[in-house]
């Protein structure tokens, strides 16, 4: 039905993502030349597994960024839902129920951010900066600052399991990415997000429920943060009130490397995923090469900038 037109549209998107992919391939080539272990299946799985948590966060962040906002509070949101979820599990509440509650906590945090931003009319950066302190404080006060140990083995087995050799966290991320892709590209909500981020006034005039759209974006971001939290506590076997420090920067970096514009209106789920893997591969490769602490920092800085330059050179204008 749409045969004559769809390919054009897809190819346009793919072209943009191709730039990001090229960056990934370059990093891959460099590291596999430098260390033989890099390009082995277990290590690649390792990279994916290690990128899974950032990917969760970054998917939610991408939707927020596309709708013209930013969410700096993801780390503390994850911490809060991690400690609450863990406390329930440790207290003997069945894992599925605890997870549901933890996810609800994440969404509630997103709701809080979203309401202040939409109905309160405040800037997203500053609201979520406030949230950054607030949710962290809740998590610390609730736990008194101590990690919660004793996550039940059943739950841990689930997060540490595999499906056909693929670690479950990676499977979860793939499912979530698919969902995010569908939301963004196939549902009215996705169109609303692009519209609100691209031209809020136009969206409002066209009858787009601007506030609900933003609210949805922040709630999804909160939800994704708590999914990441669940994966992490499953893997570590403990929930720390301090977890998630600087997650927001990693997620934003991944989204930006993947082509999201922090001005809103533009972003790609595929690009963000690739961005996450770029960052994961970078960290993995540097560890494999046993690069010294200071030089790791140096390499991270250089590679973020170089990835953006490559990306920029292979794709169109995106303004500064």
């Amino acid at each position: 039905m749409t045969a004559p037109t769809r390919p054009a549209f897809l190819s346009r998107i793919r072209f943009r993502d191709a730039g990001t992919l090229l960056g990934l391939v370059l990093i891959g080539v460099v590291f596999s030349a430098l260390t033989p272990v890099f390009l082995t299946t277990p290590n690649l799985m390792n990279i994916l597994q290690q990128s899974a948590i950032n990917a969760c966060i970054a998917l939610g962040m991408t939707l927020v960024i596309i709708s013209g906002g930013i969410d700096l509070s993801v780390g503390p949101v994850a911490a809060l839902s991690a400690v609450l979820g863990a406390a329930m599990m440790v207290a003997g509440v069945p894992a599925p129920l605890s997870v549901m509650v933890a996810l609800a906590v994440g969404m509630a945090c997103g709701l809080f951010n979203g309401v202040l931003i939409t109905w309160g009319g405040l800037q997203p950066f500053i609201v979520t900066l406030g949230g950054l302190s607030l949710f962290r404080a809740f998590a610390l006060i609730y736990t008194g600052g101590t990690p919660i140990f004793g996550i039940p083995d059943g739950f841990r087995a689930f997060t540490n399991g595999t499906v056909l050799g693929v670690p479950n966290p990676v499977v979860i991320v793939i499912v979530l990415a698919l969902a995010a892709w569908i939301i963004l590209n196939r549902t009215p909500l996705g169109e609303y997000m692009m519209a609100v981020g691209g031209n809020e006034e136009a969206a409002r005039i066209s009858g787009v429920p601007v506030r609900l759209t933003k609210l949805a974006a922040y709630m999804i971001s909160g939800l994704m943060a708590s999914v990441a939290a669940m994966i992490l506590i499953g893997r570590l076997g403990a929930a720390e009130p301090t977890l998630g420090t600087l997650w927001e920067l990693d997620a934003i970096a991944a989204a930006a490397i993947g082509g999201a514009s922090l001005m809103g209106g533009r972003g790609s789920i595929m690009g963000t995923l690739i961005g996450c893997v770029i960052l994961g591969a970078l960290r993995n490769g540097l560890t494999l090469m046993n690069v010294q602490a200071f030089y790791q920092l140096l390499a991270t800085g250089i590679i973020i900038i170089v990835a953006m330059l490559i990306d920029r050179a292979t794709s169109g204008k995106q303004g500064g």
């Binding site: 260390t35 272990v37 082995t40 277990p42 290590n43 390792n46 597994q49 290690q50 948590i53 302190s133 610390l140 600052g145 101590t146 990690p147 140990f149 540490n160 992490l232 893997r235 570590l236 076997g237 403990a238 720390e240 009130p241 301090t242 977890l243 420090t245 960290r283 993995n284 540097l286 560890t287 494999l288 046993n290 690069v291 010294q292 602490a293 200071f294 790791q296 920092l297």
Partner: protein, 326 residues
């Protein structure tokens, strides 16, 4: 007079905590209305909460008013300085500082010193101009672990270090102590030494990657317990509990639990509650005008499954006894 820059690990003007009573007699009486303030790194780490507990124990026992404050997060250097300055302006008789970095509390210390208020640098980062330091030997943490490997793994092998935040004194010293000692033994190779910024998650990821790369690895040393517990999970996930020994530093309660459960091979406990008590006692002695050496070293001990029950006590008297018996 100008003091030489302090290196707490090597300062010659030092004594061990255990000799305090012997050399300077029992704790002098405390005048009524004494106020002591403590500024710590952050309360998000059990270590610093325990230290505060130690201060509080002594304060409660002697009826001293004690205020304990900490920065909002690790790395909040100016925030900690502001807190310290704000405390000084309230008039305390002694101050116990655990600075974020070697330099960030210098102005507060100078201000207090100028006002005649004794300032103790308690543990971790070392203010070079500090007149009084109470704490353990950072390098010793790593040396203790290295010695365990040398004693218990006579065949040697590959080991790895998970470092704390780059640029932090304690992280650097602990790593150096371990690496220098174990390398000198000859049979060991430190195949990886990477930073995980005190983060359990990053430590987990780094350890997983390292295990991937060196399947024959025999041990990890992590600069603190949080990271060590992350490493433990990575080792478990790789199914290598038998082969890989994991050590942490600090001796937080979760580490004790993990040692008991056999997950964590060991940790170097520096007994924060006891350290806090000793530091408070030193402060009181200084207020009473006693001429203590510049550095008072506090104990540390390698905790493994063998001795864990001996040290896992909240009874400080018993702990003191156990340490003195060592």
């Amino acid at each position: 007079q100008d003091l030489a820059p302090l290196n707490s690990d090597s300062e010659p003007d030092r004594m061990d905590w255990s000799e305090l009573d012997a050399k300077f007699g029992a704790l002098p009486a405390v005048p009524a209305g004494t106020k002591v303030g403590g500024v710590s790194k952050t309360l998000t780490n059990e270590y610093w909460r325990s230290l505060g507990q130690g201060y509080q124990n002594v304060a409660d026992k002697l009826g001293i008013e004690f205020v304990y404050q900490a920065a909002q997060s690790e790395g909040d250097q100016l925030g900690q300085l502001a807190i310290a300055e704000n405390l000084i302006s309230q008039g305390f008789n002694a101050l116990l500082f655990s600075p974020q970095t070697d330099a960030n509390l210098i102005p507060a210390m100078e201000k207090a010193t100028a006002a005649g208020v004794p300032v103790l640098n308690v543990n971790d980062a070392v203010i070079p101009s500090a007149a009084h330091y109470v704490g353990n030997v950072q390098k010793g943490n790593g040396v203790n672990v290295a010695n365990w490997f040398i004693a218990n793994r006579p065949d040697g092998g590959k080991v790895a270090v998970i470092e704390g935040q780059p640029g932090v004194y304690a992280a650097g010293q602990r790593t150096a102590g371990f690496t220098e000692t174990i390398t000198a033994a000859g049979k060991f190779e430190v195949v990886a030494s990477v930073p995980a910024n005190w983060s359990r998650e990053e430590a987990f990821n780094a350890a997983a990657t390292i295990l991937q790369q060196y399947p024959d690895l025999i041990g990890f040393y992590a600069n603190n317990d949080g990271m060590a517990l992350g490493v433990v999970e990575a080792v478990k996930a790789a199914g290598k509990q038998e082969q890989v020994a994991v050590f942490g530093t600090d001796g937080i309660s979760d580490a004790y639990a993990a040692v008991r459960a056999g997950d964590l091979t060991g940790t170097v406990d520096s007994f924060p509650v006891l350290t806090g008590e000793v530091a408070m006692e030193v402060a009181l002695r200084l207020m009473a005008g006693q001429a203590l050496p510049r550095v008072v070293a506090t104990p540390q001990a390698l905790i493994t499954k063998d001795n864990v029950e001996t040290f896992a006590t909240s009874d400080m008297a018993a702990l003191r006894a156990a340490l003195l018996a060592q």
